[in-house]
């Protein structure tokens, strides 16, 4: 049986869909029975969602100029 501590190390593989069928099953059985780990998984999902809502940093002018220069070169 998977412990809670072990589960916290598998969360990323679970969320990124990189688990074998049996591991996934074991993970889900644990989540189904353990509300603390359900809360942890939920926190992790919300963390990822929060990160997704951060707006991108503005591109520094020097890099923007380089990108534009590359666009022009590439068109030639």
């Amino acid at each position: 049986m998977l412990t809670c501590q072990e589960l916290t190390e598998l969360v990323t593989d679970y969320l990124e869909n990189r688990m074998s069928f049996m591991d996934r099953l074991r993970f889900r059985v644990h989540i189904g029975m353990c509300r603390h780990c359900r809360a942890y998984l939920d926190q992790m999902r919300k963390t990822i969602r929060t990160l997704g809502e951060l707006s991108a940093e503005p591109i520094p002018p020097a890099i923007r100029d380089e990108l534009l220069a590359r666009f022009r070169d590439w068109k030639r």
Partner: protein, 259 residues
């Protein structure tokens, strides 16, 4: 071809005509929102529809709706006239960031799921590759900066996702994680204090973890694309992502449950 806005251009058989002739058809329809050039030009109205004879592996019709449909129809016209194979069309060189590339992507769509094509995020991938190469070059020039190889290297010390003190000796939660409200992320981001906290937490991450979490969770790139850009293995990348996310979660937790 019709000069409306957007233009309509057609060549060869329509889907219905081809069906009436009893041809075993393959149909590929690609919205222009999957073509990087259309995305970059912010003009994604329209689609490219290609119709091919499955047995002969050749185009029999092409129908394009889009601002430059008249320009784009030329290639399928030649392909139909000269019986160019769909595979050859899909493999032929088409410059990146042109509408012509849309024809290639549409030809690839016969056999691949359009959502898995690199089209949608291609522009971002390309820009990040340039930025990464830049950072690598600069890293080599400037001895004081962190060597770029740290991106693939894992951190020497073992970093658990959640600190050991949070578990009992048998691996169960000691103080368990609290439930976060449904609107937590939105509510959190309202406060500039929280934003600064997340920015700080990201800035504190080792370079590799920071690169992976930025590309994956903030910019929303695919795992495979990130492997290509950073030139690291899939396993490596998942470990970096795992550790980075765990640290950001932990920072948020401390912030939310301050006494």
């Amino acid at each position: 071809m019709t000069l409306t806005d957007p233009q309509v251009a057609s060549v060869g058989l329509s889907e219905q005509e081809a069906r009436t002739k009893g041809i075993d058809l393959m149909v590929s329809k690609l919205p222009l929102s999957y073509v990087p050039r259309a995305l970059a030009a912010r003009e994604t109205r329209g689609f490219i529809k290609l119709i091919a004879d499955r047995r002969m592996n050749r185009l029999v019709g092409a129908h394009i709706l889009g601002t430059e449909a008249g320009e784009m129809i030329q290639e399928p016209t030649l392909a139909i006239t000269h019986g160019i194979k769909v595979d050859d069309l899909a493999a032929a060189f088409h410059p990146y960031l042109t509408l012509a590339e849309g024809i290639k992507l549409a030809a690839q769509t016969f056999t691949k799921d359009v959502k898995k094509l690199q089209g949608r995020s291609g522009l971002k991938t390309w820009i990040f590759s340039i930025l990464t190469n830049r950072a690598k070059t600069r890293g080599r020039r400037d001895k004081r900066s962190v060597p770029f190889s740290v991106l693939s290297g894992l951190d020497p010390e073992d970093e658990p996702a959640v600190h050991r003190s949070r578990f009992t000796s048998s691996g169960g939660w000691a103080p368990p994680p609290e439930r976060w409200d449904e609107d937590t992320p939105e509510r959190l981001l309202l406060g500039s204090e929280t934003r600064a906290l997340i920015d700080h937490a990201i800035a504190e991450l080792p370079a590799g973890q920071r690169a992976v979490i930025t590309l994956r969770d903030i910019e929303g790139l695919d795992l495979a694309e990130i492997c290509n850009i950073l030139e690291i293995s899939g396993t490596n990348q998942r470990v970096l992502l795992h550790r980075a996310r765990a640290k950001i979660r932990s920072a948020l937790e401390q912030h939310l449950h301050r006494p």
